[in-house]
Symmetry: C2
Subunit: 239 residues, 2 copies
DNA sequence: CTATATCAACCTGTCATACAGGTTTTAAGG
DNA sequence: CCTTAAAACCTGTATGACAGGTTGATATAG
């Protein structure tokens, strides 16, 4: 029955927003790191003096953004960096026609020209192997578009990981959903086996440049790859 | 009392996740665009055959990610592209020590070297004026760090806007929160008026390059600007 | 005394209901 | 036709209830 005292005479952006802030603030002030447990809903209910409904909606919202992990019976914990929210935003932008596939590809090109150069400079041997392996699998399975696509996506994510900057990984991974929806279209424009294998060759060139540690060459191949991909999409009539 | 029939024998990721999917699916299949209204909670409750609690938590989650807009009395509507979720993810990464300020700056540098080049090529006159104006205000208010910072942020966001690719705007804006938390540190390392004005001059150079439409020069100035900013942060001991 | 099994306490997931206070629609009255 | 008041609908929040998962304490068997 008691309403939030609302000490400050603010216009009050709603109790849930306040609760969300309180939780993130708690993470900050307690210096929590991934895996650390958060207060239970009941505890937070008492602390904020609001109903469990409000607290739950706050927790659930943070969970939807993948900032915290929730599961039945256990208390919520601080989550590891995850692309969940970001990819939903991108997807939303695409489906509501606020951004175009072409625009996403421009951003990807910009970012991946950097990740590939960083990967060439900083990759571990294991990372170089993982990248090369994805390219190899693309060739092996090139009769199966579904699989080629997944290995293609894994290829780019592996490069981002080898850049050793998780922010790049985050963004690249967030775009993977869009790729999954348009990839096949580009693949279909490469009608002959030769065309398709040429495209796979492009990936191998990139992997090789990373392996030998040549950032300039790697970036060049990546640029070429994107230019061809964009052209393929344009040919297919994707704006 | 009735539980979800759960037709498929899946491990069921929870009713709320299902509801979230149903709502985004609705947006997609109905081809909704920003401002279009969504079904009411009651309608969705009936359609999904779950309690209002579940539906509400789903709506609230999407609202937290700023994919939809909610306000009392009115039905929820599809939201315009907003950086809300993305910046929360970045902030979360920073506060939980999963990403460093330095890594964010590397991404910013990568992206803004592109946005500034695009801006030089595609800016309208109004956009060029807005960019130049932010730089001018920085100089005018250079005694007031708080304001300089805000104009600095506005400067970079204006450039991103002038790139005419909303995805760039989205990302750049998402980083603004981090900037707000570290900007002052960099400013303090520029102890003399001369140093501070030199930094502002850097912004004016960028604005000028955009005005005359020279993408290469603009990118060069932007690179210089970031190199100095990163150096300033390093000098201040920020990893 | 140790190992194991059981139970109690706590926690999240979902449902039902109630009511306050916005917003839109409808209908009545001028 | 216009104005206004009421009705219908909507979201925001609170409360209580119960199912089922998790964990740690406790009691029991070995």
């Amino acid at each position: 029955m008691q309403q939030q005292t609302d000490a400050a005479g603010e216009p009050s952006p709603g109790l849930v927003s306040t609760a969300i802030q309180a939780i993130t603030q708690h993470i900050r002030s307690e210096g929590l790191t991934p895996g650390d447990p958060l207060p239970s809903e009941a505890a937070m209910t008492r602390r904020l003096n609001v109903s469990r409904t409000v607290v739950r909606e706050a927790f659930r919202s943070l969970s939807a953004m993948r900032l915290i992990d929730m599961s039945a019976g256990r208390r919520a914990t601080v989550a590891k960096l995850d692309t969940g929210a970001m990819s939903m935003v991108i997807e939303h932008g695409i489906t509501t026609q606020q951004i175009s596939v072409h625009q996403v590809y421009d951003v990807r090109r910009t970012i991946e020209m950097r990740t590939v150069a960083l990967a060439a400079l900083r990759r571990t041997d294991a990372e170089a192997a993982a990248i090369a392996n994805s390219a190899r699998l693309m060739r092996e399975e090139f009769r199966n578009p579904e699989l080629v696509m997944e290995y293609d996506i894994a290829f780019h994510e592996a490069i981002a990981a080898a850049s050793h900057n998780p922010v790049f990984s985050l963004i690249v991974t967030a775009f993977s959903g869009v790729t999954r929806r348009t990839w096949v279209i580009g693949w279909r424009t490469r009608s002959t086996d030769e065309d398709q294998l040429k495209m796979i060759k492009g990936h191998e060139d990139i992997a090789q440049a990373i392996l030998v540690g040549d950032p300039r060459l790697a970036a060049e191949h990546m640029a070429l790859h994107f230019d061809k991909s964009v052209k393929a999409l344009l040919d297919a009539g994707i704006a």
